[in-house]
């Protein structure tokens, strides 16, 4: 029987909704993960731990493996070797993308990806946790509780006045916030946020920093970002990736004077300062 269940798991036909167990204080474990594409090691023996409720920034030059790392966590790419666990018990390598999304890992893409022909409210409803089951696609009516959740998130991302507008006509920054709001509708434990402030005005960046800081604590947040000013404004714990592995980890101030980090990354040009 248990064999059958695990087979169904592999086929993605049966999604176990078990609560994530982060009793050891760690929410996400990546251990000795390696993945190569045509002989090129995009991720090379990477080990990384994200604490429960932590806000972590990941930096690194282009090609350091940041996006590939997110692909592995969210099930898009399967690594050649290594272990990826969500809490103590959930093996992420056994799940496909939709299952991983449903157990509470939300991912924001680099380019803001909202569904443009739909309204802001419809985008949020689409992302709502529990909305994804096939039988709920046809029959679904929003419950009062779900309506409240949508409006709470709308408030949180500062788009209360734009609920009825089409997502396609929002400003760039608002689209980014909407996408973060869609992740929140999934009731995630872990948020993976890829370059949230690319192309934002300073004021928008400030609001985004506030939003992400407010999410930490109740969620673990992993932010991949190039903008050092922004990184400084949100995270105290920073991981530097280089050639698919962790080069250094620590407070940004310490990293900025680390000669190794300076050589591969920070020293590469003034653009990053």
């Amino acid at each position: 029987m248990s064999e059958l269940v695990s087979e169904l798991d592999a086929a993605g036909l049966h999604t176990p909704i078990e609560p994530v167990d982060a009793t050891h204080g760690i929410l996400l474990y990546l251990e000795e993960v390696t993945v190569s594409f045509d002989g090129f090691k995009a991720i090379d023996n990477l080990s990384l731990y994200i604490g429960d409720g932590e806000l972590r920034c990941i930096i690194g030059p282009n090609g350091a493996g940041k996006t590939t790392m997110m692909d592995i966590i969210t099930g898009k790419t399967k690594p050649d070797t290594g272990r990826v666990f969500f809490g103590q018990t959930i093996d992420l390598l056994k799940l496909d993308e939709p299952s991983i999304a449903r157990i509470g890992i939300g991912r924001k893409f680099q380019r803001p990806t909202v569904i443009e022909p739909l309204t802001v409210l419809e985008n949020l409803e689409l992302a709502m946790s529990g909305a994804q089951r096939l039988d709920r696609l046809i029959t679904a009516r929003l419950t009062g509780e779900e309506r409240d959740q949508i409006h709470a998130v709308l408030d949180q991302i500062g788009l209360t006045e734009h609920g009825g507008r089409l997502a396609g006509i929002l400003a760039h920054g608002q689209k980014q916030w909407l996408e973060i709001g869609m992740l929140l509708m999934q009731k995630p434990r872990l948020l993976l946020v890829d370059e949230p402030v690319a192309g934002m005005t300073p004021a928008e960046m400030e609001r985004t920093a506030e939003l992400l800081r407010s999410l930490a604590g109740s969620h673990s947040v992993v932010v991949v970002e190039h903008d050092m000013g922004f990184v400084r404004s949100i995270a105290d714990q920073v991981t530097v990736l280089h050639q698919g592995r962790v080069l250094a980890e620590g407070r940004l101030e310490d990293l900025q004077v680390d000669p190794m980090v300076i050589e591969v990354y920070l020293g590469a040009g003034d653009a990053y300062h």
């Binding site: 939709p98 569904i115 689409l126 679904a140």
Partner: protein, 362 residues
């Protein structure tokens, strides 16, 4: 008015349904109760041509559901149309009974001609109308589901998927051309006599088939309109515009695609089943890749992702085809190609888009 919201707010759809209602009542009157020498008389030929257009329109609606809403450019939908047609054609062949040229009480003429001694197993059951109607839905649906299940699970998409759908219909065409397949080979199924005992040559039967076509189109339209108004419809748009986003929100994109693709194939099958008794023949030519491409052009001309546009496009392009292939047959394919280029370049939202633009400007 006691209309559900999704229909009430769909003005173009209500106009379409009203037009279909007027046609459904008016065409029978003009054919059956107006004397043939009266200027308003519609000949049985005209009734049949109009019925054919409605079948094409239903095929176009089924294509618009998967292309316009879900973003899958299917270049093989005529295969499902033809399969539905063959299912009903098999029933009509069995209805001929001993009235065939060779007078065999069981075997259709082409089987006698091939010296077959008994009916192949897959022809059994098709003498029952109910079974044949069920197969009209099951056969195209099953093929679409199996095809979709494998293609979508392997994450085949975009132009590659379009090419595979094209290959699917081409392969079926080659298969049905073979006499050994038992579907009449090159000639297909024809010489039909009657349907449920009603002569296919009688005006009354033709009028009823026309009314059924109008009802099927209205029903198919309502089903698709309702579906796209549910959360499912918004998921389809999400899959069309950003498949990865939908997947990382937790949607099982492959399953949704396979399901909607199957539903669409069933609608195409119904369209084909209504088409065959009206034109009196079904042969492997219906599987020709060009047929599927033409159907996609209807949708593009009318405006994809609108459902009503698919109906308008199918009727207008086919009207033009009827007229042009009569007046200047050699020009038709050039006109069709030119139409597609024009629509793609100048009217990305088709005729419906043009109307909406006018409305906004006014």
């Amino acid at each position: 008015m006691l209309l559900p919201h999704w229909l009430f707010s769909d003005r173009a759809g209500l106009v379409l349904l009203a037009v279909l209602a007027v046609l459904g009542v008016g065409v029978p009157i003009l054919n059956l109760w107006v004397p043939p020498d009266h200027p308003l008389y519609l000949s049985a030929y005209t009734v049949t041509v109009l019925g054919k257009y409605l079948c094409y329109a239903l095929l176009a609606v089924s294509i618009d559901l998967v292309w316009g809403y879900m973003g899958i450019l299917t270049l093989g939908h005529a295969a499902f149309f033809a399969l539905g047609g063959y299912c009903l054609g098999m029933y009509l062949m069995r209805q001929i009974g001993a009235r065939g040229v060779y007078g065999d009480p069981v075997l259709p003429d082409f089987m006698v001609f091939l010296n077959w001694s008994e009916l192949p197993w897959y022809w059994h059951g098709f003498d029952h109308f109910g079974f044949a109607m069920l197969m009209v839905l099951v056969i195209p649906g099953l093929l679409a589901f199996v095809f979709g299940w494998f293609a979508f699970r392997s994450r085949v998409s975009g132009v590659y998927l379009s090419i595979i759908t094209q290959a699917l219909t081409y392969a079926l065409m080659l298969a049905f051309f073979r006499n050994e397949m038992g579907f009449g080979g090159n000639n297909g199924l024809t010489d039909f006599k009657d349907l449920l005992g009603f002569s296919l040559q009688a005006d009354g039967t033709r009028v009823v088939l026309f009314i059924l076509s109008a009802l099927a189109l209205a029903g198919g339209y309502l089903l698709c309109r309702w579906l796209v108004s549910t959360r499912m419809g918004r998921v389809l748009v999400a899959i069309r515009d950003s498949e990865d986003r939908a997947r990382f929100l937790g949607y099982r994109v492959e399953r949704v695609k396979a399901l909607v693709f199957t539903l669409s194939a069933m609608l195409a099958g119904v369209a084909g089943a209504l088409y065959v008794p009206q034109v009196g023949i079904i042969n492997p030519g219906e599987f020709a890749p060009l047929n599927s491409i033409e159907a996609v052009i209807w949708v593009a001309v009318g405006g994809r992702g609108t459902l009503v546009g698919a109906v308008i496009g199918a009727v207008l392009v086919n009207y033009a085809k009827t007229w042009l292939t009569g007046a200047l047959p050699e020009v038709w394919l050039f006109a069709l190609g030119g139409l597609f280029v024009t629509v793609t370049v100048l009217l990305p939202y088709g005729l419906i888009g043009l109307l909406q633009r006018r409305e906004k400007a006014a």
